[in-house]
Structures are given as C-alpha cells and as structure tokens.
C-alpha cells in the first residue's frame, strides 16, 4: 500500500486524568488508514480501541506523538481546510438510541448537517438529497421514514439513519464504533453489507471497531485487523493472515476462546489457558510487555524487561509485538 494514507498515527500517546491520577489509555500507537480500506480494531473493553477511533476521526487530540491527515498535521491547515478535513472523517456511534435526537424527525436529523455545511442549495435540493440518502441506506420508501421520530424506528433502522447522517457531508472515512453491537444478530449482516456497498460506491475507508472477532473476520475479510491490548497494538496485518496464523499469544488466546456457531467446530476448539484471568488496571500497567503476567509463553528476564515493538516475525506475514517471536525464537510454555 504505497498510497498516501488518509490518517497516520505516529507514536501516539493519549492519557486522561481522573481524580488527579493520569490514566495512560494509548501508548505508542503507529497506525495508517488508507483510502477505501477496511480496518478493524479489535480487543476487550479498556484496550483503547474507541480512543484510537476518536483520534482517527479527529474528535480527540493526541497527548503526544503526531497525527497526520492527508499527510499533514491538523495545525498546518488553515481554518477552512481544517473544517473540510474534519468533515471527511465521520463517526458512527454504538448506541443509535442515544446518538439521534429524540425530538427531531429523521428529515431534520439529516437536514441539519446538509444545511449547516451548505451541501445543498434550496429546499427542493435538500429534500432530494434527504430522499437520496435514505434510499442509499435502504430505508425505503423515504416518504414513510422522513417524518418519523427515532423512537418510531427499530434499532437497525436507527443505525441506518446514523450512517445516512454520516454520509451527509461526503466523508472519505467512517469510523464505526461497535455500530452493530446493539442490533439483533439476524439483521447485523444486512447493515454490514450495506456499509460495504457504500464503501465501494463512495470510495470510503471504514474503521470498524468491535469486540466480536467473528464479526471482524466477516467484515474485514479483504482488509486488515489490528488487535489491541491495554493501550497498545499487539498485532496488525491482513485479516486472512491473522485468522489463519495468529502470532501474538494474546491474539492466539482470543481466537481460541471464541465460541463458534457450529457444534462440531466449537467443541473441538482448545482454548489456550492464560496464567491469570485478571486484566491489569490501566493505572498499573505491567512493565515490559503488558501481557506478560497472563501470557502462557512468558519468558522471565525478557518479557518483563523491555517493551516489545511491532515488527514482522519470521514465519508470519503480519506485524506483531512480541520479543521472543520477533527475535525468531519458538514460543515455549512458561514453566517447562
């Protein structure tokens, strides 16, 4: 991928302060998002995937490190350009009950950003554009939807409205943060297929944030996955490489732990047992590799000393942050 990335994160740190305690949420994140690609951020709660998504969508600043949009820092753009760049990155939230104003009709919800950003001229064009957007997200006939309030729609329909709203400003990138977690399994696939179609139609990049690995695999089959743990990316690469041949012990543990919707398959799986079930607090991240207290392949004197960096390990196509692997060693179970 030699294209100019839409967004580049170089050594990005982000921390929040809570009751005078500094909580490091992201540490040393290196990540590019390319035009038209599908990138999934996966990991358990508290791993920093939402914060990463917000930084990508330029809704949050990095505490340290450099974030480039179309190759330049936000500060290098003038006001007008900044507003244009911000418009190019849109976020779709998890909860369509909370993210749509309950007192506005769907027409108003879509009309506001169209008018605010002067995307349309005159009422006839506004109406035509709203109709077009609703059709794009398969809310048809638009005439039935446009005067409804969010509470009159199902969860899936509401999430489609959220996506239509993100499209009002002709974005180049959509960050979908757990965008289908709250809708029923039976209708998720429809929304994901629609996102894929929109991506093809408008040359969109999609950053898809989820804790559901099976869904990530399905959605990003032709794209990439980044696995996060305690504020760092521990593995990143093509989805097909990671699913077929996971490198990092954390990724291996996750993949082995996921139940499968197939009795034979799921009962044959052998979950990799961890040395501890407890996820360390962000205020007390273990030294060295943050995963070492739980890692079944922990090497004392190595993993608890230096912080591993993302690199390609011999035998793997993707990048991983695991010192024994990247130095070409075999992983051996701890204590043998």
């Amino acid at each position: 991928m030699s294209q100019q990335p839409l967004v580049e994160l170089h050594g990005v740190y982000r921390s929040f302060e809570k009751e005078r305690v500094r909580i490091p949420v992201l540490q040393d994140i290196h990540l590019n998002v390319y035009p038209n690609e599908v990138l999934c951020l996966v990991g358990e709660s508290g791993c920093g995937k939402t914060t990463t998504g917000k930084i990508i969508a330029s809704l949050l600043d990095a505490s340290e490190g450099e974030v480039l949009y179309n190759g330049r820092r936000m500060a290098e753009y003038d006001r007008k350009e900044r507003s244009l760049i911000r418009r190019q990155m849109q976020l779709v939230h998890q909860d369509p009950f909370a993210s749509l104003n309950p007192a506005h009709t769907i027409g108003q919800i879509l009309g506001y950003p169209l008018k605010r950003h002067k995307m349309v001229n005159g009422r006839a064009e506004l109406r035509r554009r709203i109709w077009e957007l609703l059709t794009l997200v398969d809310l048809t006939p638009p005439g039935d939807i446009v005067n409804k309030f969010p509470h009159q729609l199902s969860g899936g329909q509401r999430q489609r409205v959220s996506i239509a709203r993100a499209l009002t400003v002709n974005p180049k990138l959509i960050v979908a943060d757990e965008a289908v977690s709250m809708v029923d399994v039976s209708i998720r696939i429809g929304i994901l297929k629609m996102l894929h179609n929109l991506r093809d139609m408008f040359n969109l990049a999609i950053v898809f944030i989820t804790h559901d690995l099976a869904l990530a695999k399905y959605f990003a089959w032709e794209g990439r996955i980044a696995v996060m743990y305690l504020g760092r990316i521990v593995e990143i690469g093509r989805t097909q490489d990671i699913i077929a041949n996971p490198a990092h012990p954390y990724t291996r543990a996750l993949l082995s732990a996921v139940p499968e919707a197939d009795p034979n398959l799921t009962r044959k799986k052998q979950p990799i047992p961890l040395r501890s079930d407890e996820i360390p607090r962000l205020t007390a991240i273990p030294p060295g590799c943050a995963f070492h207290p739980r890692c079944p392949f922990y090497q004392p004197g190595v993993c608890d000393v230096s912080v591993p960096r993302l690199a390609q390990a011999p035998g793997y196509a993707q990048d991983t942050a695991c010192i024994p692997l990247t130095t070409g060693e075999q992983l051996v179970p701890y204590g043998t």
Binding site: S186, R188, P259
Partner: protein, 336 residues
Amino acid sequence: MSNVVLSVKNLSMSYLAARGRVRAVNNVSFDLHAGETLAIIGESGCGKSSLNLTLIRQLPTSAKIESGQLLYTKRDGQQLDILQLSKKGLQKFLWSEISMVFQGALNALNPVIRISDMVYDTGKAHGLSKAESRKQALDLFEKVRLDPMRVFRAYPHELSGGMRQRVLLALALLLRPQVVIMDEPTTAVDILTQRSILEVLKELRRELNFSILFISHDLAIAAEIADTIATMYAGEIVEIGPVYEVFYHPRHAYTLSLLDAAPRLSVGAEELHSIPGSPPDLIEPPAGCKFHERCRLATDICAHTVPPIEIFNGNHRVSCHHHQIVRKEREEVIQS
C-alpha cells in the same frame, strides 16, 4: 434419556397493552431432562425472556398466564404444578428447586450489601443456618475459581465483571437446585472472561449435574454448551431438537435464517444473509405461519395455513411447511 425434571405443557401468557393483548408466549410445550442443557434461541422480541419469567412466575401485573401446566418433579419423585403453588409455596420453591442467573451482573447484586450477607439472607430464607450457608458458599466460590475468603467479604463493586458473574452463578447453586435458568449470562463480558465462565459452567454442570435452561441470541454459545436447541419465534417454539440435528439438519425456515446470519471465526470467507424486516406485532400476529412475511421460502400455503407440528426421529419437533427444502438447503451449504 434421563428423567424429566420440568415439563412445560401448552403454556400461554399475554400482556395487557392499550391496543389489546400481546401474546408473548403462545402454546409452548417442552420437556427439560435431568442434567440437560436446553438453549432457547431467537431474536429479541421473540418471547424468550417472557417465557423465562413465566416459568418462574415473576411477571408484571399486566401479564396473565392464559393456560398451561408447569409440571416439576422433585428429587424425591413428588410432582407439582408451579402454576398452582401459593405465594409462600413459590417463595420456598424458587432458588431451592429452580434458580436464575440474569444478565448484567452489576444490576443483579445489591450494591450496599456484602456478598456474605447475600449468602446469609438467601440461606436463611430457606432454613439454612449461617454456618451451613457459609460452608456451602465458600465451597462453591472455590468451584467457580474465585478466592473464597476475599469474595465472601467483598462488596459487589470491589469485584470485576467476570467475578460478579461467577458469584451469581455460585449464589444460584447455593441451595443445590435441579434447574438453573440463565438469561444471556455472558453477553456483557469480554471474550476471555466469557471463556472462563463457560469453562466454569461446564465443570459445575459435570460435577453437580443440574439442568440448564439457557436463553441466548448467541448461536455460538448455544452450539457450545447445549444438548438441545429450541428456536422461538413470535412467542412460539417453532423447532426443537438435539443440538447436532438443529445445527446440521434444521427443518424450520426461521432456524435456517438464523444460521445463515451467524459468522464463524475459523471458517474462511462466508456467504451470510440477514433476515429482512423485524419480528411481527404480537397483538395482531400474521395469519398462517407467523414467519411467512420474512421468509424467503414462503409460498401461498404459508400465508393462510398454520403449519402442522411434525416429529422426526422421535425428538425433533418442528412446524414448517417447507421443512424438506430447509433441510436440503442447509445440508448443501454444509457440503460445500
């Protein structure tokens, strides 16, 4: 198969709403055997949770049990109908014979009471001395892989989500019930936590041999732990059978549609499909097969004739006009 512990016969329940009666549970029948795990699957709004609440008679005042029997067989062979129990009788019956684990462990535990007091209260209500309750609880905490003394003295907020869920599991087993009802017990937890809860659950089940009625929209968990799968749609059980039968040789179009929408992690590229529309209005349900409006296999007959109940291989019960096509389609998908 072993003895029937709970036999549900022609159970119907409705809620009174402004527009009329919502038929949330409609003529449901099934048997739960000793040591059996029965998973009830279906979309939200299909009646799973209503059925669950009817079984333990914890319904809001707007609800009315229209008809049916809930025959329960105690360990000593004595049989009773849960629907005929007095208020006092029901209080004694619940928890000692049938207990529950709800989703959202934080809401299910009283935040201002120590775990120990919850144990004592529960024990006291059922005639257990403090010492007995304590001994039982510590033993169970050990079994669910918790640090017994630490957890016993703790307040709920001092425990992580996974620990709380395991405390609930232990509390549900305190009085050694024969049946535990679980409503989405692992939806709010992370992958690795879910895995450890599933492992604990399987171990407990082996050791204590209770029956589980498992309510879930997650087909993967059902595939992993269930012996029997029941598919619920519009308040009815439309298909019930052994887990391998239902997954590999389903006979109801709705079950087929659910399977078609579930991604599997370790299966390469997949062709998945959503179910169009949403579950029907249960005040005025559609005529004929209630699924016909959303069913891609539906023909004229489905729109006006209720499909007959048919039984295959003695234990696979289904009501679908097109059960042959369903079975053939699924078997072709599995072959390819």
